[in-house]
Amino acid sequence: MALLQVQDISISIDRPEGKVGLVRDVSFDIQPGEIVGMLGESGCGKSLTALAILGLLPEGMTATGEILFKGANLLTLDEPSLCRLRGNRIGLIFQEPMTTLNPMMTIGDQVMEPLRLHRGLGRHDARAEALRLLERIRLPSPRQKFDSYPHQLSGGQRQRVVIAMAIACKPELLIADEPTTALDTTMQMQILDLLLDLTDETDTGLLLITHDLGVMAEMTDRILVMYGGSIVETSPTADLIASPAHPYSRGLLRAIPQRAPGSDGWLEPIPGTVPAPAARPQGCLFRARCPIAIAECAAHRPELRDILPGRSAACWVPIIHGRTGDA
């Protein structure tokens, strides 16, 4: 059985003028030990999907569909049961290490919190376990840092602490929302290596959310590409890098320095902007920016469908083996 099965998740926000859809019919699953990447630009619904899995959507937003965690639907679970899952069996790593730690609480207290909450450890045992965790995530001089406050740590050290909190109770599923965006490149690689080690050791499933395709290529087994609140392509990582099926995926690849296949040294930006959630047009959302759009794209919105074994794309004219085929 899949560790996590997300089925037709839609997220909308209540506005005075009515409900506005933010995420539409997102489906994917994660197996134990699998690393799935979620790729897309800011505002495409990646973080919202992550928050919805934990039942932590901001006030005024609602999710519909099914989120099965080991068979139990998280969307219908009561709040006390969700609290027992969060930080315990599902860990969440946020992107901003500057603001995700409580500035008025010591590092030690914050790392001990999930241990005391979920595993019922006393202060003494929780301290010993928290120190072990801080060593494991390779925080320099953990004993001394234990009683420090977040402002006394560097950005990379803080992010390590955030990871320590998320993995404290050995979760089966780890969701990392842009875990390295705020860090410099060397620190980025260290943190990612750390995440890889952790998932290897414990068979934890990892949902890695990022807009950095380089990180994706290094880390993930499979990639979900999101655009305008929907998944537009899902492919094994190597396949997607070698031959993106959706024109948006291809656009993203071509916009990366060095990695652009067959590029002449110039980056190729994707023209135009993402339509705002309240102003999403009929038909394909990428149509206005798409170099290969056909008439059908304006009339009907393409659904995600299988185009090759293990690969699917939401496109009327997916690029198969580098060539646009009519489907």
Partner: protein, 315 residues
């Protein structure tokens, strides 16, 4: 030592010095001759002159200021014109009422504000929030002396739970003393609580939107646990600031409320002293009230250091 602390202590001393100068100057400018008030309008000019001599009113202002200051440093506040007893003794006995009154009132205000403010913040933009906000709007608008009279009407005259005024003295025991202070403290506390509730609410709402509260929830804390363990301490700084600022208003409020409830406290003393041109009492009470206010605000500054580790380490 912390630089912030040194700076605060220095500014405390300078403020105090400035206050003594201002208090002295204001009373110099104020019309009214204490000798005339004491002896009545029919007094003989030579008797008046003799009394002025005795009270030291004939000396130059500068001389009188420095005499007052050197007295203060020795703990001698002079003798009251009207009561003919040392001012320090007079003030001491009155403080026994006003300080407990102010502390009790602050406790009521802070207690109410924390409960209502956190409740409103937790129910942000829902019925409970609107209800609390409406009540605080009324609380801010009600004058404390009028509320005091309403409280007397209800709890003293109708329900007969508390006395309508007066003070039995602490010799009568702790409970009878406190009982006499409950209604005036409540009358003073309502307006303070109303303002403070709004501050608590706004501050908690702001903190609840911070990323680390979301982190706390992602760890598995319930909404209430996240509020208590993570949001409250962070929300306290603006709340403590306003409590300090309100303490001055509270002391000013005692002048009115002690008259409504006939409590022989500092507020009533200053009211009577002004009527009787008892300059010796007035200037000393004014300075004392100022000392209390700036000391409370000094304590508030020190509390910042206790609450926020970032300030403790910055120096």
């Amino acid at each position: 030592m912390n630089r912030l602390l040194l700076y605060r202590l220095a500014s405390w001393a300078l403020t105090l010095l400035a206050i003594t100068v201002i208090a002295f100057l204001v009373l110099e400018i104020l019309p009214g001759d204490p000798a005339l008030v004491l002896l009545g309008p029919d007094a003989q000019p030579d008797t008046l002159e003799a009394l002025r001599q005795q009270l030291g009113l004939n000396q130059a202002a500068v001389v009188r200021y420095f005499e007052w200051m050197s007295g203060l440093l020795r703990g001698d506040m002079g003798t009251s014109y009207t009561y003919s007893i040392p001012v320090s003794e007079l003030i001491g006995s009155r403080l026994k009422i006003t300080i407990p009154l102010a502390v009790l009132s602050t406790a009521i205000a802070v207690g109410l504000a924390l409960v209502l403010g956190m409740y409103a913040a937790a129910r942000h933009n829902r019925v409970g929030d609107y209800g609390v906000m409406a009540v605080t709007q009324i609380g801010v608008a009600i004058p404390s002396f009028w509320l005091g009279m309403l409280l007397i009407l209800l709890f003293s005259l109708t329900l007969r739970w508390f006395s309508a005024g007066g003070f039995p003295g602490w010799e009568a025991g702790l409970w009878p003393g406190l009982r006499a202070l409950v209604l005036p403290a409540a009358a003073l506390a309502i307006a303070q609580a109303a303002v403070l509730t709004r501050v608590v609410r706004a501050s908690v709402i702001e903190v609840l939107n911070q990323d680390f509260v979301r982190t706390a929830r992602a760890k598995g804390l319930t909404r209430a646990q996240a509020l208590r363990r993570h949001a409250l301490r962070n929300a306290l700084i603006p709340v403590v600031t306003v409590i300090g600022l309100q303490f001055g208003h509270l002391l000013a409020g005692t002048i009115v409320i002690e008259n409504v409830f006939s409590l022989p406290g500092l507020g009533r003393l200053i009211f009577q002293s002004i009527n009787q041109r008892d300059l010796m009492v007035i200037k000393n009470v004014v300075v004392l009230l100022a000392v209390i206010v700036i000391t409370v605000n000094l304590i508030v500054d020190l509390l910042y250091l206790v609450i926020d580790p970032r300030l403790r380490h910055a120096s």
